[in-house]
Symmetry: C2
Subunit: 654 residues, 2 copies
């Protein structure tokens, strides 16, 4: 079998470190990981790992020698910090193994710059203590969703034939990649917990132990998605009522058994009362009752429950204009602020709908000041091209994390960043080789949301591609790929318009008469969803000032969100000076032209990137162009047929 | 296990015959079948099977004693005839076992009327020598299509776990039902021949022998769907080119092996160059080359090849207005008239598209006077409610078989009627108990297309339901159910508007931007497909006079087909005096009201039909009402949003 692509950790990326004389001090599992990294790097590049004597060291990596990389308090933020300096010799000093590992990779990313001019000590600490990737992996292959739900890179790297794989080399490589970018938590199974996967909590627990053992040396704690009705389905109890003492006991016992096997287990991820999953509503309890039940089972061991706020009516009647899915999470959770235990993290999707290319920031993030929150992204490109399209999402996440709410940013308000992973057994990990940049960038932004997205992209390109001449074109191709994707898909924040079920490719009316609450309400006169307080669903009222007013008026609402908040006539003039319908036409023609340019840039990289990468990306760009053209033509035709307004520039609309 | 429902052959239906003194003469397999039927009937109802002496006989059934119920010439129409008379005693005389069987069931259907006033001898012969049901059954369960493709009544009665079932009692019951209505051919497997099912022709042939043995006593010959590329996939040859001698030899050998095992095997059913199936086009050959290849392998044994005319481009570009799927079968096959061997039957779907609730009759039926044709229907309700909706299709088939072309009717022009069966393991056979009427009516119309649909319905009701008070309401509920279904679904012949993939429930734009060639082209001004010679695709030109001119003009085109042939403004006034858009609103409101009435009629039958039937139908009527309401609201809203024209009667359009 071909070995997997090294992603951003190819051998040449270690040359600056590996060609030098390096000392690693300290003990403990993660210090050993750092030592092994250094040993491999110097073996490849002619440097030396120098254990004794003051022998012309060029890099010293000083761990504190403590063994407590995972402390039972559940917070190991302290030990994740490191300080880097250069005064003749470059040094990294950390209070724990995790910090040393992150400091080591910081130096790898700096490259030769780490060994150039002296610089004063600089302390580095993560902005978010929680930096987590969720895997929507099933142990078995689901007939419709495949093995990895919303996965676009082959089957699960964790599971085969209903069990954890025998050979976990691939998982170890993955854990190393995550450790190198500071990801410190991973959810091992699909939030939609099916019957087979439920058993990971009980009889398959020894399998989970094996995964935990593989992730641990890289500073990554494992978590399980659990079904809220497990006391019934696994335990045989008559109820899963969170206030029932037998239910509490069941969770306490099950959780204690997990910690007996995995002392540094991270906790549970729960999708409850959501899209058909069981939850506390069935027992007349609220989500604080539900979350606290699990939180109290986890608390003695320092575990956390990640409780998803993605609760809405997925059997809505499209005729019912009063119900607004966008309101649901706030309606359900804002009243519960203060009711959650301290080891509950409410996991909130970044937008009020579902991982669209463009949504406003979820108002839930400003609505629960007394609750720990994590914002949830999709590294997996469910609605953003499914790893067939280049769509570099780091700028989107950056924009969201920097979004101001009540004088702070989203990044300030949350305790963590969680995302759905995009990896699978594919030899490039992510299907599209360039989608590795999203995985890398997620880790980097989770560590520090103030990093500039283009700087993160440059880091990734610099590590991944050896030929300096490839870097400019790669950046050109990738850095605006999210706005490009937005241009040729659903316009002005209206969202969806995807093919029902698999969510790839256009279907303008695909969800228009569905029970999913995702409508655009286009008619012969106009399009968009009236979510104002004045005449609509009142969703704008869930925002604090100034957004509640900025979004309320079409005059102040940003163009890119206009149709999310307002139903306007096709002739409505945007801030850009264009009418809505002309904007639709223009952006769709432009989007396709940009994909043509991307393909041209890529063609120029032949010979400058490895052949396997070149060929795969070239093929996928052809598919992206085909699909973008389909989006352009379907959306333009749809709005031309509805509005009757011809394109101002006379281009072909079918 | 609950025994299956007796359908139209319950014990009470045999009382008129079974309470009398009956003689059966003649020998042979089918005469034995008749004798066994009589024996069972008299045992149940107190009559007698009288073998010797002139003992007050009330019914004599006279077979000719020949053993040749299946003659090797491939035509056994002669032996299917019978003559029935009454002169004191009722008599049935037949030239063969099949005729005797049909005559016996004729008397069963007559009931007491067969034993009332005398009547002169009347000869009965089938109008169509070919009366065939195709089963789209797979030996294995297909992940998307299930075991029975487009089946709505559970898994296959033939197959389990990749083989023919051990227990064939259910198949024997089915064969008896088919024999009783004169069906004389059955296709055993899906026309989409997958890898597993291909082996029915070779290593699973002993399994097919077992099925043939079960069908034979009821006068039903078995057929296999075969893949055109079988010489490659099964035979390991490098080609399936129909002109290649090794390919010919392979088919000759395979076919000889089938006939060695099943001397009365009926022949092959072939879907070639259609929706991705292999065919002669791959070798630069035409469909006559392809069909004749198989015909010549079958000819020495009296076998027939059923070659489907369902050939079209299923990867059409929706932007391409010049390509018209409706034209495809005629374009492909009309030029080949005269080129087919005499044992080829070209199997033509009744309409140019695909089994819609309303289509014009296929012009192919008038276009190949020197070719044997069969018209193909769907008893399975793929596009007509999937056996969740009451939709009595016999009036549709009657209308088509009576449709005049070149001074004759469709029934005159064809040599056979073929349909896709609607049965499965469901205890009512057909999912919806009232869908049994379609299976019954298919056999009856295939025997005699001049029968009145309401008379056929009355026959079925009379046989199936014992309580005479149930019969009027049942007729009221069922006889207009096809026009009702048409009213609440796609309007004025435009077709489709179904959910892609499973084809159940509305999706007005579901196929509008698809590669399937099934579009309605609705915009803000109008709707419909211009298939005229003057300004459209020219499809009208495929019809003989007068239809080529009747359909060409919106002035003469029948309302119910207007949007199939013309793109018209919403304000276009129909012959009914209504505008197109008001017609859409009115029919959709009416259709739902009719379903409400149907449910009310059914509610009145509680206690008059068996409880199991009552409950099942009541449940399904609730689903039909839900689905019809969804159709009404989606279609009305869609056209209101497009046209902006309000309902003249101010009813709610969402």
């Amino acid at each position: 079998m071909t070995p997997p692509h090294p992603a951003w950790l190819p051998v040449p990326a270690f040359r600056p470190v590996g060609s030098r004389r390096v000392r690693v001090t300290g003990t403990g599992l993660l210090v050993t990981t750092v030592r092994d990294e250094v040993a491999a790097a110097v073996a490849a590049h002619g440097g030396a790992l120098v254990d004794d004597g003051p022998a012309d060291l060029e890099l010293v990596l000083v761990g504190d020698g403590g063994s407590g990389e995972f402390d039972a308090s559940g917070g190991f933020g302290g030990s994740e910090e490191f300080t880097v300096a250069r005064a003749g010799t470059t040094s990294v000093r950390a209070g724990g193994g995790a910090g040393l590992l992150y400091g080591f990779h910081h130096v790898v990313r700096l490259g030769e710059a780490a060994f150039a001019a002296d610089f004063a000590p600089r302390r580095h600490a993560p902005r978010q203590p929680i930096r987590m990737l969720d895997h929507w992996d099933n142990t078995e292959v689901h007939p419709f969703m495949g093995q990895v739900e919303r996965g676009y890179a082959g089957n699960s790297i964790f599971y085969a034939d209903g069990r954890v794989r025998e050979d976990l080399d691939r998982v170890a490589e993955y854990a190393r990649l995550l450790g190198s970018i500071g990801v410190n938590r991973v959810g091992l199974n699909n939030v939609n917990v099916h019957r087979a996967e439920a058993r990971l909590l009980t009889d398959l627990l020894p399998d989970v132990v094996r995964l935990a053992d593989v992730f641990r040396p890289h500073g990554v704690r494992v978590h399980l998605s659990v079904g809220f009705s497990s006391p019934v389905t696994l335990g045989g109890l008559p109820t899963a009522d969170p206030l029932d003492p037998a239910v509490r006991e069941w969770w306490d016992r099950a959780t204690a058994a997990v910690y007996a096997a995995i002392p540094d287990f991270g906790g549970y991820v729960v999708k409850a009362d959501s899209e058909g999953r069981p939850g506390p509503f069935a027992y007349g309890r609220d989500h604080a009752d539900g979350a606290n039940l699990l939180a109290r089972a986890l608390a003695p061991f320092g575990g956390t429950v990640f409780w998803r706020a993605f609760v809405y009516d997925h059997r809505q009647d499209w005729r019912d204009r009063a119900t607004d899915r966008a309101r649901a999470a706030h309606d359900h959770f804002a009243p519960l602020d203060g009711a959650f235990d301290p080891n509950v993290v409410l996991q909130v999707k970044y937008g009020p709908m579902d991982f669209q290319a463009r949504e406003p920031v979820s108002p839930v993030i400003a609505a629960l000041p007394r609750t720990r929150l994590a914002v949830e992204f999709q590294v997996t490109q469910e609605y953003t091209g499914q790893q067939k399209h280049v769509c570099h999402l780091v700028p989107q996440w950056s924009e969201i994390l920097r979004f101001p709410l009540d004088g702070r940013t989203v990044g300030d308000l949350v305790d963590g960043v969680v995302a759905v992973s995009n990896v699978g057994l594919d030899r490039f990990w992510t299907g599209h080789p360039l989608a590795q940049a999203n995985l890398f960038g997620f880790g980097r932004l989770a560590w520090d949301d103030r990093l500039a997205p283009d700087a993160v992209l440059d880091e990734w390109i610099g590590l991944t591609f050896e030929d300096p001449a490839a870097r400019g074109p790669l950046r050109e191709l990738m850095d605006d790929s999210w706005p490009t994707y937005e241009r040729y898909t659903a316009p002005l924040g209206v969202g969806f318009m995807v093919t029902p079920g698999h969510h790839y490719g256009p279907s303008v009316d695909g969800y228009e008469y569905s029970p999913w609450g995702t409508y655009h309400f286009a008619d012969r006169d106009g399009v968009g969803v009236d979510r104002t307080r004045a005449t609509g669903t009142g969703f704008t009222g869930q925002y604090p000032a100034p957004w509640r007013d900025v979004y309320e008026s079409p005059e102040t609402c940003p163009d890119e969100l206009l149709l999310f908040f307002h139903h306007v006539p096709y002739g409505h003039v945007l801030h850009s000076g264009k009418t809505v319908v002309q904007h639709v036409y223009d952006t769709h023609f432009e989007g396709v032209e940009e994909v043509v340019r991307m393909a041209r840039v890529w063609a120029g990289l032949e010979g400058r990137v490895p052949d396997g990468v070149f060929g795969r990306v070239a093929e996928l760009l052809a598919e992206q162009l085909r699909c973008a053209t389909e989006w352009r033509d379907q959306v333009n035709t749809y709005f031309f047929r509805k509005s009757g307004v011809p394109d101002a520039h006379g281009r072909t609309i079918h």
